[in-house]
Amino acid sequence: MEKGMRDSFGEALVALGAVNEKLVVLDADVSSSTRSGKFRDAYPERFFNVGVAEANMADIAAGMATCGYRPVISAFAIFIALKSTDQIRNVICYNNLPVIIAGGYAGLSDSFDGASHQSLTDVAIMRAFPNMTVLTLTDADDVQSVLEQALEHDGPVYMRMCRNPSPVIGKKEPLKIGKALCLKEGTDVTIGACGVTVSMALEAAEDLEKMGIKAEVLEMGSIKPMDREALVASVEKTGCFLSVEEHSVIGGMGSAAAEILVKNHPVPMDFVGVDDCFTESGPYLPLLEKYGIHKDIISRKAEELTARKSN
């Protein structure tokens, strides 16, 4: 089964708006794309379309948050992370204001629009700011729960979502702040994945199994805070770690994992992600593969890691 995270996002906003009268939603002229427009239809007095002005939107939300409201700002991940960086850093994070920053169309998922719209550095930016929580959602089933957790959280939360319908993998529980969920147990290599790459990692693990390699797959969508204990425990067992993400290999989830492992349990590591380059237009899945994100690339790198480990 596939479902778009944005469709769940619109539905969840409407559901939560019914029970939380402090929930307000702001969008930057993309509410029909991000689906926040569903909230506008349900609660027009609590919805603010600020036009294509992400910086202004972030600070308006900050002002609302100081008054006890719980704003969600919604736009494309690339623009929210880059055009409102100063506002997110100097106003939202510095003051630890509970603004939920919903970055849609993340990674390569706005595939046909090209590199100008593809967001491959947003996690690196967001996780560098003190007070920020950074979550990359695995599938549409995560959306409502993540929003609920974010609304209870005392501080800003960045939630990163894919544009396209993507596999719903039927996890036993939704993504939790600060938790890595083990989706498949193994002993030879730990594959930490987030976002739409989680399903690819699971497929790769099946292929590896046929080659006699037992991969452990962790869902690591809680990039900040990262589940240090779960990561270290898994790597102590497997002896190597492969990160998989739809993001630049510079500064993303893999970097965050490396920061933990290098201090706690150094092991052979590798990264699956976009390798410090600008991308291009094209259909989503072929584009992911061209830029290094595919189950076969995951299994090849995992296999190489197990070989490095034994040398």
Binding site: A53, G63, G68
Partner: protein, 302 residues
Amino acid sequence: MDSSDLQAGDALGNEKEIRMKEYTNRELQAKAQQFRIDVIETLHQKGTGHWGGSASVADLLTYLYFKRMDIRPEEPDWTERDRLILSKGHASPMLYAVLESKGYLPKGTLSSFRDMNSSIQGHPCMNKTPGVEMSTGALGHGLSVGLGMSLISQLHDNSFYTYVIVGEGCLNEGQSWEAIMSAGKFAPEKLVLMVDYNKVQLDGTVEEIMPLEPFADKFRAFNWNVPEKMYDGHDMDNIEESFKWLDSQKKGPSVIIYDTVKGKGVSFMENKNIWHGSPVGVEHLEKALPELKEQLSKWEDE
């Protein structure tokens, strides 16, 4: 509040009524001048901080905190309080002098300006300093944040005012114009932008750096309420008149442009961009203090 209310309050020994003592405009002129003296002595002692923009905003802040705003210093988080955002955050020492005098900060706090472990940072920080509504410093944020606050006020029958003070530097930032445009759309009744228009920036005059004229017309074009005249931001009677204009507006948002002087009160520092942020040396202080005190005694006489 009229004076008969005050007398009734005094007669009852009502603490709140006494706190809300109604100052004459002349008393407010003297207060603002004393804040200038406190600030320039602090800046000299610390060897750091911004004199020019602090001096130009002294009277506006004094009028707001001592006559205009509905606030409860003993209850800084009171939901319905009026909000003030000093978007030109480099004028922080003047804000701290006012907040200390209002009772938000313990007496003597100003002397820890910019010290390590101090509650008063180089630029305002809302989580460290009671009474600071929003952290500022990076220019251009204040109006957007204030718009957000005023939109919440609007959801609650316009239960409080949001005042945002900007200088020219804030208005150089593109974000300010996003905020001006969107405030024109959402039209919150109780959003008030106050421009401390001293016409001098860090690097030179506004004319040299980034001219704003035709200034008032820009706001008219964005559907703001704009007074026909510029008010004197150093004259309490004039400032009072500007709020009478404000109170006659039936919808929002409103902007008031105040004609001010950077470095106001010290003749050799006035209108000089070098005094945006230069340290105040002993030779400067020795020349400045007699001038500031002479004017203070003029306000205090009578």
